[in-house]
Symmetry: C2
Subunit: 181 residues, 2 copies
């Protein structure tokens, strides 16, 4: 089984990145990123349930409202959290029932519903947010400050690459709490 003389010189012992049409490195990177996200997410879910008897979607939604003094519309929240409008409607329904969120039509435009945290909701969220920040720090404790910075920077490039590839068709930003810009 001879290698034809016209074959590229790197049929064996070649770096993956040099194989044309091969994208195994990107795939492995994505799988590893997904593993990390999934591990973090499910750990946070578990702790929110055990310690506060609540869920991540509720926490995320409250986090968005907490950052806004004037309240947010359903559409704004849905863009921020990168979920559908219908989903926001559904999650808000639960928070309304628990008295954590208030919903009322806007004065100027009665199509839009303005969502705000109630006083109770604000209290509840702040207690959770403090613990949440600690949990995240704990999970990343194995990384030094320099590594955290480097990772943050590389993920910034990744985010730019994604927006480039997706073509800005979708917008909206993160979930869970706060922005990352």
């Amino acid at each position: 089984m001879e290698i034809p003389s016209s074959a590229p010189l790197l049929d064996r012992e070649t770096k993956a990145s040099e194989r044309p049409g091969d994208h195994k490195d990107e795939l492995r990177l994505w799988l590893r990123m997904l593993t990390c996200s999934t591990l973090i997410e499910s750990e946070i879910r578990t702790r929110l349930r055990e310690e506060f008897k609540t869920t991540l979607p509720r926490f995320d939604l409250m986090a968005q409202l907490e950052k806004s003094t004037t309240g947010m519309t359903v559409g704004e929240v849905s863009q921020r959290l990168m979920v559908s409008n219908g989903n926001v409607t559904a999650v808000v329904a639960g928070l309304l029932a628990d008295g954590l969120v208030d919903k009322r039509p806007a004065a100027q435009d009665r199509r839009v519903q303005v969502l705000t945290l109630t006083a109770q909701g604000r209290r509840a969220f702040r207690a959770m947010a403090e613990r949440h920040e600690g949990w995240i720090a704990e999970l990343f404790a194995g990384l030094g400050a320099a590594e955290i910075g480097q990772l943050f920077r590389l993920l910034g490039q990744t985010k730019a690459s994604l927006h480039q590839a997706i073509g800005k068709r979708q917008n909206g930003t993160p979930a869970t709490a706060g922005d990352d810009e």
Copy 2:
């Protein structure tokens, strides 16, 4: 309201990492990672739906089975995908109905159900997997080979940190396809 003279000298103009009890950097890192994961995931979901009329959970499950020549049990798949057993049962039900997966009790231990791809399932998966790899490459096209490697390494450290913090209570690895080790 005077600052006591014993106060640390860095009450203002201090790096976040120097503020004791402050973990905003870790939080921002997590939010950025989550943004990236969510963007990739929902783009892949959309394309799987539009191009193959299927869903990510089904694709993920088939990806696991495709890697195993001898088949996998429900429990193995659930560990790999980091989802509950009940979830695997439910997703498998759909794949069974579509003739993509086969399920039969193991000969030696009749508690376990062995899952395998059917010939049709294997064909369908391979077509999807090829496209999938291309999509991922496209999404990461803004990163060079060195950056991909660096990111992969840092996420490896992150993964180790997570396992450390979570205490190996849970195990299991990634989702979507293949391993990242």
